[in-house]
Symmetry: C2
Subunit: 110 residues, 2 copies
DNA sequence: TGAACACATGAACAAATATTCATATGTTCA
DNA sequence: TGAACATATGAATATTTGTTCATGTGTTCA
């Protein structure tokens, strides 16, 4: 490849790329899906809202581990909480999540 | 919540969850999207196939860094390579990627 | 053939991350 | 109020991960 042609291509692609900050945010967003504990938590929440101790039972991990991970999910607006007495009930924030999930499944099941 | 009711819920959800192995694979798949360098590489490849050195120029990182990341993308079947003389041209493997990308963008731009 | 180039890869290091333990916060109910 | 329970959080640790440097592999062309 000629050097000049190379430069042109690089310039053109750079110009069409989304804002760098946006791409960093996007990576942070997908990072949340990149852990099996969080994936399992989200998967459990597809069915219904659940308390923290239920989730801990389902994924077979410590309550504190689950609390930490739920905080991460909250920070990225993937889940919301509802307090009811002593318990906190978590549920999914929106339906993008399930779609992203399904697309991932489609890919790996090919 | 009564203890017995808790158990029932846990059992039911567990029964409906996908295979644990599948969820681990899914997490590994999304892990690939969870790094800004890889996101930027994929984003560049939306436009057209590119050589390694072009990609390195576009994302502003070392050639070896890009090669390492491309290997990870290859391992998860997200990109494919074509050799042409001294250069390797990378391109996206399928169109799931762009859809997943767009859904992520929709989420963070809300 | 051998020099020059493009790319791939192993080792080393630094930074980020997940988990656990211990403990703090907040709620209920006797 | 205080004991019991559910959840949240800080600190410590082990592991994973991304980047770089140095070098290996494969290709072209003089």
């Amino acid at each position: 490849m000629a050097h000049e042609e190379h430069k042109e291509i690089v310039q053109e692609i750079k110009a069409n790329m989304p804002n760098a900050d946006t791409l960093f945010e996007l990576a942070d967003f997908f990072k949340v899906f990149g852990d099996s504990t969080r994936i399992r938590i989200m998967c459990a929440l597809f069915e219904r809202e659940l308390s923290v101790c239920c989730i801990a039972d389902i994924v077979g991990m410590e309550q504190s581990t689950v609390s930490h991970q739920l905080r991460i999910l909250r920070q990225e607006n993937l889940v919301k909480v509802r307090r009811d007495g002593k318990q906190s009930y978590y549920s999914l924030e929106d339906e993008h999540i399930q779609k992203i999930f399904e697309m991932g499944l489609e890919h790996i099941l090919e």
